[in-house]
Symmetry: C2
Subunit: 493 residues, 2 copies
């Protein structure tokens, strides 16, 4: 068995270490030489590309177009919306100079003090400000609306504690920024996009999510309302996986963006923004993977099927290849991404362990006797079960198996979430239950003060007020004051 | 006719103004609020996306994988390769702080002086340094080679004079960074990639290019050798459209990246890097467009065919739509991107002018009489010629027409280049000819001094030493010293 695999920490020993090990050993990413930043390695990036292509297509089907806005934002723009700057000022990279020069007193290179910018520029932590400053020139009449724009970009937030994919100083994401003529239409789009994210999470990532509204404390800086999708990781912690913000007229007012409505009267534009990031990679890893490595959903796996020949002589290998090559073509024709790994410098056992570590959903192994018998050994990564199959019709069989794996890991994640979701009535009960992890459904009086108290005492936050589910009123577990409905508490990433 | 169209400056009046007008009026891009940066608008970005997807596919077919490296580069990394820092230090954005705070003496927000970085970070102008610092950990043995990696990213060079797409402070690009076990293999890859760029330019952009080697003066900072593709714009100026650099062992030595070769001996790794950027958008615009607006090659046009119904009554419109809708489906099934513009708020004349401005290759117009007769008016954007066609078989007809347009604009560009390319013998002759624009083939003694003198006196530079073409030796037009072969001089963007 491969050395890399043996070194993987077990989840039961140290979940956090298991995650870090897995990210590195499965060749997804590594810490960069720059504080808090990561290098996304080819295998990790290939998964991200699949996510990007799928989401991009889904966005476009709703009428969204891509564009690109500048990386650097003038400091004064960030300051226009009071809550926004409050939310982002403490963690931003600031460009102050535009030139280096040879150190007159030494041999090195220094920042040229004569090349100081008149106004500092901020590496975008998010782009509402620069985009709404641009929209001012694009929007004049109701005929210019709605404006449905997305950008794929890198952003930077100077986080103090970072973890690969989950929280890094620089990350990759998409940010959609829509402008509408009415509050209703903007709210509809805000909800449409959180629903789209939920669909993506469930259908492609095989990750069940709860759609809900954030409490005021957890709202995006500058938003009227933030919708979220919350997923539960294997350790029972919540992971916020995507957000969609109804920005009301806040940014239109900050950047003076008005339009002439159908009644020929000027009105501020209604806005929303929505995004998902490389954080989804962390969510994907922690939703399904096990002590043997990654478990990837077939819909996002860069390699869906790997075929490993088992042979002793070159003649045997040639015979196997002769049979397998046309099958590889058939897999490709069926739109299944397949790798035939006949590399000579690694033994089958090493290959098996490596593809398990990398989460390839289906492995086919084939030896000389299989060729004689028309059989093949099939291993499914999610359950690690092996079975014997027929070479005849193998493509159709694997096609079904991939769908079966996709459904199975979704169901497993859903069952896990159900097991780890409890309802509590009292704060004492809450304090006991929260230690066990998972989602806790409890009554809350709706005030930021109570939420803050719970957070300080238990490290749990309100993940969301679910859009669906039980809406029976009750009394707050902490204050005894009226509660409109139960909300979801959890510790989170 | 649409107001926008009438406002477009004519090329003969002011070529430079025509370009700027066209970029803005065709909705490709606009100046951003940040000095030297641009906003790429949805229509412009859609063209860039087509370029990206095509190139990405071409790269992957040669075994290249995508990855992502950090935006910010520690100053000390940039300084490791002497020529490299010399080339980039004068034009880089420097991050010095990581936090803003409320101004204790006022109402605004200031850079927090306590949040000064120990080491300044540079917004990447190119990524050789950070990537080779990473490769150090990835490469140990010849078995780890070749390493063929590309990233799609934004980069920043603090240019003093900027022009949209051609030279902007921030731009989008791809940068490939390959590592090899031998000098020969690295050189082969360097040439393979410049050939790939040439193929892309010619087949997709319909833009003929000359492949050649840069003189020492024009070489990439840190390269042993730079290959380039040079295109001629309509005004006779050259535009460097893509480069591929053989970096020798320079970066491997600077970052101490060695591998154990097949003879079990340590050796420095051989490197190359290659890139194209949103500059290609400028090249595309200036290669084919005319006084009516953009002319887009069908292989890169976001909308290849637009269909405009001509009607007076709603009944007429409905009748046209009934006939056209199934044809739209057939276009889509044939992989042709089509837009049926039956919007009611713009008159056909306005639509015609707008789609001409936006360079849509084929326009179909159809009225009630066409429906009766089974005919359609066909306009091809490249020649502005109109013809009558049959609705029966229109998809096949347009499919051929698109290929015909693609070939025609390539041929036109090729003829233009041939007309504007001259051979001169004396420096006097050179000085006269260079004023007329175009490529001048002349003998040069191979020294940087002579090239510098010619540049200072005529503003012309050596665009490249072509890989193909006349290799007869001669004497330098300036110094009379021996010349190995003619090189290409031009004024350039």
């Amino acid at each position: 068995m491969a050395k890399e695999l043996k070194d993987l920490t077990k989840r039961s020993e140290n979940y956090s270490q298991w995650y870090n090990d897995l990210v590195v050993k499965a060749d997804l990413a590594e810490q960069a030489a720059v504080r808090g930043c990561m290098v996304i390695k080819p295998y990790g990036y290939a998964i991200w590309e699949k996510m990007q292509r799928t989401l991009d297509q889904m966005f476009k089907e709703t009428g969204v177009q891509n564009a690109y806005f500048p990386l650097l934002i003038p400091k004064s723009f960030l300051c226009r919306e009071a809550e926004h700057v409050e939310g982002f000022a403490k963690e931003c990279a600031v460009v102050t100079h535009y030139r280096l020069k040879n150190d007159p007193e030494g041999s090195g290179v220094i920042v040229d003090p004569d090349a100081r910018l008149e106004e500092e520029l901020i590496v975008r932590p998010t782009s509402e400000t620069i985009i709404w400053n641009t929209y001012k020139n694009w929007i004049h009449s109701y005929r210019d609306l709605p404006l449905l724009i997305n950008q794929w970009a890198n952003v930077m937030r100077w986080e103090m504690r970072t973890r690969m994919f989950l929280r890094t100083s620089e990350f990759l994401w998409q940010e959609g920024h829509c402008a509408h003529a009415t509050a209703e239409e903007s709210e509809q789009r805000t909800i449409q996009m959180i629903n789209l994210y939920a669909e993506f999470a469930e259908k492609y990532m095989a990750m069940p999510v709860i759609i809900g509204v954030k409490s005021a404390n957890e709202r995006f800086a500058g938003a009227v309302n933030t919708y979220t999708i919350e997923a539960m990781m294997q350790d029972g912690k919540a992971l916020q996986s995507g957000t969609s913000h109804n920005l009301g007229q806040n940014f239109a007012k900050a950047f003076d963006v008005t339009f002439v409505n159908k009644d020929n009267k000027p009105e501020y534009v209604w806005a929303n923004s929505w995004g998902v990031s490389t954080r989804l990679m962390g969510a994907l890893i922690m939703s399904h993977s096990d002590d043997n490595g990654l478990v990837l959903p077939p819909h996002l796996a860069p390699i869906q099927v790997v075929i490993v020949p088992i042979y002793k002589t070159d003649e045997q290998r040639d015979k196997i290849s002769e049979v397998i090559n046309p099958i590889v073509d058939k897999f490709r024709a069926a739109g299944i991404s397949v790798k035939y790994d006949d590399a000579d410098n690694r033994r089958p056992g090493f290959k098996f362990a490596d593809y398990e570590l990398k989460g390839v959903p289906v492995r086919l192994a084939i030896g000389p006797r299989d060729i004689e018998n028309g059989t093949v050994e099939i291993m499914r990564r999610d359950t690690l079960e092996k079975s014997e199959g027929q070479l005849e019709g193998i493509v159709t069989h694997v096609e079904k198996l991939l769908e079966d794996i996709q459904e199975n890991i979704y169901r497993k994640a859903l069952e896990h979430r159900a097991e780890m979701t409890r309802t509590v009535e009292t704060y004492d009960e809450f304090k006991t239950e929260i230690e066990k992890g998972g989602f806790i459904l409890a009554h809350w009086d709706g005030t930021p003060e109570t939420e803050e108290k719970i957070k300080n005492e238990t490290k749990a936050t309100i993940r969301c007020i679910p859009l669906d589910g039980d809406t029976t009123p009750g009394v707050c577990m902490v204050t005894g004051r009226p509660s409109a409905r139960r909300v979801i508490f959890a510790r989170s990433y």
